[in-house]
Amino acid sequence: MSQTIQDLPGTGPAPQTGPGAGARPDAKSNNPGLFRMLLRDKFASAGAVILLLVLLTAAFGPMLMGDLATRQNLLFANKAPFNPANGWEYFLGSDSLGRSVLARLVVATRTTLAVAVPAVAVAMVIGSLWGVWAGYHRGWRENVSMRVADVIMSFPSLLLAVVVLYVFSPSAANIVLILALTRIPIYLRTARAESAELQSRTFVDAARTFGARPNAIIRRHVIPVVTPTILTLATLEFCYVMLAESSLSFLGIGIQPPDASWGLLVSQGRQYLQTAWWLSIFPGLAIVITAISANMLAAWLRIATDPAQRWRLALPGRRKLIVRLKAKESK
């Protein structure tokens, strides 16, 4: 009979060997707060700051610059950017009607976010709740849900947009609905996979044995575990939805003038590319910078909310990795 040391009564759990042996910090004693971990990652904090700035611009910018965005001044048409002589309003140049590009950009920020944020939120809430429900119950509920997701995924979303444009009014609210509808399957699939995996775990079984009702189990045990993944996904999706809205607006089946979103500004500036490049370039840059920020934050979130990977973020900066041994003194 082989008695192993690991079986010995009285020897507690010892640090694991393997990748990062002993490197995993004790969950309680050595776990810096999320915020402090964010500050450690320069890229992610930069992304968070930029997103915050974009949000603030969308919230307060139109109040400050709304008038400026519509004020036409034909004497000031097509002014090139970065010329301090034109005054700060025209720092990013002016369009063919002499409107300030900067002010139009600020006002478009609100429209862009007013589409992207609600669309992401609606899709996230519906999709993940649906997915959790389908994954928890398995069986026909799961099958039907997955087929519905397949149908939505393979439906040409452009057609949906055109239908809404022709049949209903092309308002921002309708574009939110289209974008939300087409992105629901993403959350549905992710939440279903996680929930299906969770419902087979012991702690959910235990809750079931104690007679907890499905909805209570889902609320207390499944949703809290799924939430970090879903939030990370939503950050990525924000990027996608913003690009989708700008593509629709660019094609003329999204936001309609006189409203303006970043994508629409790019589209409107396109015909002046030879004479006034700044009309298209700056709104596009706004999209790119915002999207990269969201991406970087999502990449960080993915690691930070994963207990198995979080320790990586807490590792001190890497100094010289390979320590060259000094030549051994001869004996």
């Binding site: 890229f43 087929r147 149908v151 393979s154 057609l159 993403i186 790019v266």
Partner: protein, 328 residues
């Protein structure tokens, strides 16, 4: 193989049917095409004639029955715009899209494997940080804007390439350069992630313990294992491209299926739209089968039992099911 095909067909048929019916109904919701195809001063009689001639006065269900009856005899209807067979128009546009998609994906995969593997060699090293930023940026740039910037710099300012059209190799540079960004960005991250986890597997240590060089470890052992998850994502990206790169095809005047689809939507050219949807659905169906076959080729663990039974007479151990990570 046959049972696999049968399963695939059954699981794809129902969603496809729902999509076709949905497209059929929704397209007709956009309005009567008569107002687009008849002169502004057309009389009520002319409108009624037009509507009746194209069967648009029938109830929706009758129209649908007619359509599916035609499809079963490989008659996909005629275009309202040109009077041509809708199937011919869709088939003519498709090669342009396929060429674009194939070139883009080959380029994206090649670049992503090189950059992603390079980044994975030293996680969090300088190469990793650079490539992660570049790939994120590549995946974040809206294609229409990139196309415009490309036109502005290379076509207008420098005059190196034409602004649109399909004539000559130079015409390919901008569309491909624009399209390749997003698949490249997404794939670099997938390849990098798969390579990092493959390189930390015990079998890498085993290979090193046999004296394998770094090159051999990376190309022979890690990359081969990392290729399966990368293939899943590459497949999804290819599906997106086969659906037609609407924006890029529109901007560069590329006569592909995406441009044909958006044109027929805007022109209420119902038959052509439906033909496009059907054609891409069939293409994607075939593509998915090819991806499944490639997957089985790359990972012996997912091969059906019959293919390997020759080798496992003595003692069949149950194959451990390793589910590929769900891609978000």
């Amino acid at each position: 193989m046959l049972s696999y095909l049968r399963k695939r067909i059954i699981s794809s048929a129902l969603p496809l049917l729902v999509v076709i019916v949905g497209v059929f109904a929704l397209a007709r919701l956009t309005g009567n095409p008569a107002s687009l195809y008849l002169p502004l001063n057309a009389t009520e009689q002319m409108r009624a004639d037009f509507t009746a001639r194209h069967g648009l006065d029938q109830p929706l269900l009758v129209q649908m029955a007619d359509y599916f009856g035609g499809v079963l005899q490989l008659d996909f209807g005629t275009s309202l715009r040109t009077g041509e067979s809708a199937a011919t128009m869709a088939l003519r546009a498709f090669p342009a899209t396929l060429q674009l998609a194939a070139t883009t994906m080959v380029l994206a995969i090649l670049l992503a494997v090189i950059v992603g593997s390079w980044a994975a060699l030293k996680p969090n090293g300088i190469a990793d940080r650079i490539s992660s930023f570049v790939s994120m940026a590549a995946a974040s740039i809206p294609d229409f804007w990139l196309a415009i910037v490309g036109i502005w710099i290379f076509a207008i300012t420098l005059g190196w390439v034409p602004t649109s059209g399909v004539t000559g190799a130079a015409a390919w540079v901008l569309p491909i350069g624009t399209l390749v960004m997003r698949p490249f960005g997404a794939l670099v991250q997938v390849v990098r992630g798969a390579m990092v986890s493959a390189l930390s597997e015990p079998y890498i240590k085993l290979a090193r313990s046999k004296g394998a060089s770094q090159t051999r470890v990376v190309t022979h052992h890690a990359l081969r294992n990392a290729s399966a998850p990368a293939l899943t994502v590459a497949g999804d990206l290819t599906v997106g491209l086969v659906n037609g790169a609407v924006v890029v095809e529109t901007i560069f005047g590329w006569p592909g299926i995406g441009k044909l689809m958006i044109d027929s939507i805007l022109q209420r050219d119902f038959a052509v739209l439906q033909a496009c949807v059907l054609l891409t659905a069939v293409a994607i169906f075939v593509l998915n089968i090819v991806i499944d076959l490639l997957y089985a080729l790359l990972d012996p663990r997912v091969r059906p039992a019959s293919a390997v039974s020759r080798a496992r007479k003595a003692r069949p151990a149950p194959a451990p099911v390793e589910t590929a990570p769900a891609n978000a």
